[in-house]
Symmetry: C4
Subunit: 207 residues, 4 copies
Amino acid sequence: VRLLQRFARGELHLTRIEAFSDGVFAIVVTLLVLELKVPALADHRSVALLAAALTEQLPKFLSWLLSFIIVCKFWLNHHQLLSQARSANYALVWLNSLFLLGQAFIPFPTALLGEYPANPLAVSLFGLVMALNTILFISLQAYLTTHLLRAQAQAPSPRQIRQGFVGPLSYLTGAAAAWMYPPLGFLLYLVTPLFYIVPPMPEPRIE
Amino acid sequence: VRLLQRFARGELHLTRIEAFSDGVFAIVVTLLVLELKVPALADHRSVALLAAALTEQLPKFLSWLLSFIIVCKFWLNHHQLLSQARSANYALVWLNSLFLLGQAFIPFPTALLGEYPANPLAVSLFGLVMALNTILFISLQAYLTTHLLRAQAQAPSPRQIRQGFVGPLSYLTGAAAAWMYPPLGFLLYLVTPLFYIVPPMPEPRIE
Amino acid sequence: VRLLQRFARGELHLTRIEAFSDGVFAIVVTLLVLELKVPALADHRSVALLAAALTEQLPKFLSWLLSFIIVCKFWLNHHQLLSQARSANYALVWLNSLFLLGQAFIPFPTALLGEYPANPLAVSLFGLVMALNTILFISLQAYLTTHLLRAQAQAPSPRQIRQGFVGPLSYLTGAAAAWMYPPLGFLLYLVTPLFYIVPPMPEPRIE
Amino acid sequence: VRLLQRFARGELHLTRIEAFSDGVFAIVVTLLVLELKVPALADHRSVALLAAALTEQLPKFLSWLLSFIIVCKFWLNHHQLLSQARSANYALVWLNSLFLLGQAFIPFPTALLGEYPANPLAVSLFGLVMALNTILFISLQAYLTTHLLRAQAQAPSPRQIRQGFVGPLSYLTGAAAAWMYPPLGFLLYLVTPLFYIVPPMPEPRIE
């Protein structure tokens, strides 16, 4: 307990935490493109060969697109969450670092999914990593809103908290579905962001 | 309609949107250099072999140069556009994310163009991606100037809006020309930035 | 001596030093993931082959995790240290650049450790590089706290300075242990951060 | 002339120019490490094989170190120069973009130098690129100090301007020497930064 109390100390600058996090987010989304490789063609001028090679890379394009949108959504959530903090302490910095660790890992399962879209393990790993990332975000959110919320900021309502678990559940469903039929898992991942990129409904005010 | 209205909500910080975007721009322009590979030489000390290998990479140097200048121009336009916003909402963030998605994709068609400068598909894809990027920017601009313009800022004049379409048209012309003669497409891409790096004429003021 | 005095001159902006440093930290932690390679599978759909290939990469995952946490800790220390400076001069900039040089080098020994976890040289090099990085940080800290401390800031106590040497000693012990039994060195590296991610005890105040 | 006048227009934010530039600098110095490759060893546990492979990479380590220090020096100069500007216009942004183009190119000649340290062309190209970068910086400096200097800022003295040309001359001498004896060129590059990392003497004040 005494050990845990020490983490609640420290007065750290939110601006540098945001700058470091923004850097990680920006690099993750941009590094994803390195997975798209220029194909080797037997005949450099052949349109047919290049078209075939690019079509074959379709799963890579889709997994790139998917991860790009997911990381942008995480960035947006992170941005909103940190704007509600009044200050930072050690616990927040380490929860944030763990969250960034999850974000920085994303290029790897993305590359696996793009390379082996018909492999149940590759498809389900993607979902597991995304579910884990969502849980890391929820932990960060839970800590910040219970300990470091600004006076003017509003804690999330029980309904909003429940909605936060739709993401991990959806990813886990996709990860499970991949073991029956891999493309179904992939499809579920593609559909998930469509739900959560829509901004939340404002809470009904009781007057 | 109700769904779309939700996107118009939210009060987000422009500074973090700029920081994230600047990060993506900076990484895109710098990652481009990874396409320039150190050639493998049979004789490590041979000047002739190295000179020949580097000359062979000329299309890669040109496509690197081209994309670097294009991304710098997008950064400059983005910089000017966002300085005219009074605030940000969800719609702006997502239009901005889509625009950054297009920017982050640029290294791939750049690498294709550098590797297969005589392949009509590779050359025309570069132009299509650049045209798409310009259109994504125009969408962001249209939304921002109609919904989030600062009181002091001036909306673009019809003439400026028309000029904004010179870019995509020029890229599409290059993409079409590539099917007749690939080097012509490449040449058109190299000429296009020369037009638009010149700053716009100030609007004549009616007094 | 006159030469050294010149380094103590100059009035440089701390914000740009922090921005540059944050960029380097963010890129280092994110580049680490590039070491995790998608394995080549004879049968694309085989779960067993992919599971075996990923298990074989376990040392790479561990060394990635280890370096990520270590760099985050360096970032945190750097963040706290620079917040105590009243201004920057040439000496600080160059000590900071040397420190960033050490940070930017980290992906290389991390990759070596992940690739050759049973090679004593690879394992001990990792420890040596980390010890060197800690010493570079201590130099930066020593200069800043003796020459550029803000009026309100508190210089580290002798106890805190002594604790700062626990890190390099622990890494050097791991580097030495690797020559007897490489996994022991790896284990010591994994244990080291557990000590220093705990925030320091507040100094007892004499009243 | 009218065309050139247009570039002198525009009121752009220095903070975003600095953020974009800092991003490019940070990525360039960090990407350099990707040139250091983990060697392939026939026997994974062999200390002798790994030691031999790392020793063979010595030119890569030296060229990495060299470019890191050179880019840090460019960052420092850029930092000081931009802090003297009162505002930015199109001309400054494009001169800055050209300068960043030169910086972003640095990883390529660095890799060439590291791979072929005994090839006169590889060694001299490194010096030519560095000389070009210095000239791009001098152009940026010349424009800024003649057109956009802040009221309080001091234009560089003729002596300081002359000193600015020591860098390119030294690099060009190294590039020329490489044609006689490549290691001599490499040595000159290693010595050059030793001169210019020393901060400039303050100008004697006439009282």
